[in-house]
């Protein structure tokens, strides 16, 4: 199994990453997933994150099989 990481919108374009699969070893929080997936890129202000499609903060734990997503403020409607 792996942790699947997704990036959306301006963040996806800026980082040039759409999706990544990471080995779960050593990845205990959303913050750790960000660091690993982006090679410690600086976090933009207002960055949002979700685990398994629910909003979470960066201290939220992650486990094998989770889907973690990072994206800018939403602008629908």
């Amino acid at each position: 199994m792996t942790i699947s990481v997704k990036f959306f919108a301006s963040l996806r374009e800026k980082l040039g990453i759409d999706e990544k699969q990471l080995a779960p070893a050593g990845l205990e929080t959303v913050q750790a997933v960000w660091n690993k997936a982006t090679d410690n890129a600086k976090q933009p202000p207002n960055l949002l994150s979700a685990v398994n499609m629910e909003y979470v903060d960066f201290n939220h734990p992650v486990k094998d099989g989770d889907e973690v997503a990072f994206f800018p403020p939403v602008t629908g409607g």
Binding site: A9, M53, A69, G76
Partner: protein
């Protein structure tokens, strides 16, 4: 699949959608009020002409959160049903972006629930707008105030 939520990449007719949904409702005879909100793409934003718009979303999370906010509205107000259609992909000025429809016995609940749904959608549903201007493209960084 939640029949109360549609995310589509093709143009839709909001009033036809309201009629179609209402025709399939079980609560016929119980509702005395239907409130609809239709959001339409403008050809200007922050004093610049916008030629085209592209809407990206997070498939799965979008539908999940739209269902959640409908459930919340049903808990807060005495509404009989609610329906949301949201467009994604490429579209042009004048195209409908979003439809929110609410049904209740009396108008107050349908109005209030409708306002709740569109405001929550705008702040929580993972959609992102990118505008094409004469000078290139830009991501919309935040929604305008109501």
């Amino acid at each position: 699949m939640d029949k109360r939520v549609i995310v589509t990449d093709t143009i839709f007719d909001p009033l036809q959608e309201v009629q179609r949904f209402q025709n399939a409702m079980q609560a016929k005879g119980q509702f005395g009020a239907c409130v609809t909100f239709v959001g339409t793409m403008r050809d200007f934003n922050e004093n610049t002409d916008v030629q085209k718009m592209t809407l990206e979303h997070y498939p799965g999370m979008t539908e999940k959160h739209l269902s959640q906010i409908i459930d919340e509205a049903k808990n807060k107000w005495d509404i009989l049903d609610a329906f949301i259609v949201h467009r994604v992909g490429d579209f042009k000025p004048g195209d409908p972006i979003v439809l929110v429809a609410t049904w209740s016995a009396h108008r107050a609940e349908a109005y209030e629930a409708n306002r709740y749904l569109i405001e929550e959608l705008k702040s929580r549903a993972p959609f992102w707008k990118k505008e094409t201007l004469k000078e290139g493209t830009r991501w919309v960084e935040h929604n305008t105030l109501a």
